[in-house]
Symmetry: C2
């Protein structure tokens, strides 16, 4: 069916999920909302994240989406269950796909998770992992310095290397993990920095690829795949600075984005 | 919920799927039926495969399974839609998970598929791939010599290398593919032989791993995960020779199988 897929994020991080959705589901149209003006969500109280998330969702429901992807770990941690209960369309978060992929990848069952303060405090990753395998041991770590750095766009050079080095230090000291979940959709934008810091023996899981796979399955399982033969124009909406959003999006995607509009929420 | 997962196959091939299910979903009990005495299904008429598949399904329904995995590509090609329409539990085949994984892996959108005559004749893989991405080009090839070789257990040595060499030759001659789907669950048992023959530039997709991921998602999505904390004893049933089944299973699994029983179907 021709209705679009909705994707919401606190800012540009969800573009890592959107890119994979476009690659793995090229005939599905995306409507993306990035709440850049209120990013980061990580340090905000649960009630605030909940309210902001619902504002994005309501905006997209007006546009008749057939499935919602919560491409923000913090929003997933705080609101997924509520959204799944209240909406009559499928709602896919990023925490369970990342967890399932980590379980598939890990051999020693020791999995690291880096994420925002909010996601770590929620315990959502340990819960999701242990729901499937009670023998998994999780080392999780809040990295509050990373999202502001990524949203600023300054992700190359020695300063970025140093920020990543300091952020990951506590995890490296317990480096018996063999798999690391990037538990924030911003982090794949600095995946190389993180891999260089952690070393090549650690498998790094980006939830974007995994989430796209699961969206593909649910669309197929629910018979919601678009059967048209025309490549769609995706629509991006940001509550923040359009130029900065466009710069980061165009650096991340293979092709420049065609449709970008500023919106106000709340 | 504590009810088991049912897995059916024409013989031992589905063990490649079962192994991944056990690894990725360690707290879920499997009931596995391998119709070894009537294997291979590949050259049989559709009606016969349909009847044999339903006999396995009816056997497992009596045991109150909560989800069915059709771990045989030929049976998936011929019966999946019918099973999904008629059963009130989720039914997962192996063709769509393999297709989604190949779309995720391929960069040049040229995908090879090797499978039994029945699976190739059904067109199930091109249909599944094109349903998601109309730009995919599929090169598919029936390899009728491979399943009998694998069921015989003689999968090492020069003769096996030669059988694989001759089977794959037509595909190598069109080797612009970058991804090869093993479209028969027997083939992962000779994955190394196939990889050596095709060369390291070709990514080989085993549907077992991918199917286990999708079963994990559907159990979670439908709230069917087992929440107990006891590792289950899996049960295996074969219509053929128990000793041969046990030998192949024990070579394939990390631990010897504990429960194996002969059954008659039909």
């Amino acid at each position: 069916m021709r209705r679009p897929i909705g994707v919401i994020d606190s800012g540009v991080g969800g573009l890592t999920v959107a890119k994979e959705l476009i690659r793995q589901l090229p005939y599905e149209q995306l409507l993306y909302v990035g709440d850049t003006s209120r990013c980061p969500y990580g340090p905000r109280p649960k009630e605030e994240v909940y309210r902001y998330t619902w504002e994005m969702v309501d905006y997209l429901l007006e546009k008749n989406i057939k499935l919602l992807v919560v491409a923000c770990n913090t929003a997933t941690a705080y609101t997924l269950e509520d959204l799944q209960n209240k909406l009559d369309i499928p709602v896919i978060g990023v925490i369970q796909p990342g967890s399932r992929a980590a379980i598939k990848a890990s051999h020693n069952k020791r999995i690291g998770v880096i994420a925002t303060e909010g996601t770590i405090a929620s315990g959502a990753y340990p819960t999701a992992l242990e729901m499937i395998d009670r023998r998994i041991r999780v080392n999780d770590l809040a990295c509050p310095s990373l999202v502001p750095m990524i949203e600023s766009g300054d992700i190359e050079g020695e300063q970025a290397v140093q920020i990543v080095h300091h952020a990951l230090k506590p995890l490296k000291e317990k480096n018996h993990i063999d798999t690391l979940i990037l538990g924030c959709t911003h982090y794949p934008l600095i995946k190389t920095l993180i891999e260089n810091e952690m070393g090549s023996h650690i498998q790094v899981i980006c939830s974007g690829e995994e989430t796209a796979r699961e969206v593909s399955l649910i669309l197929s399982y629910q018979n919601l795949l678009n059967k048209e033969d025309v490549l769609p124009v995706h629509e991006f909406f940001t509550t923040g600075d359009k130029e900065k959003f466009k710069r980061i999006a165009n650096a991340w995607f293979d092709e420049p984005i065609e449709f970008l509009r500023s919106i106000e929420l709340g």
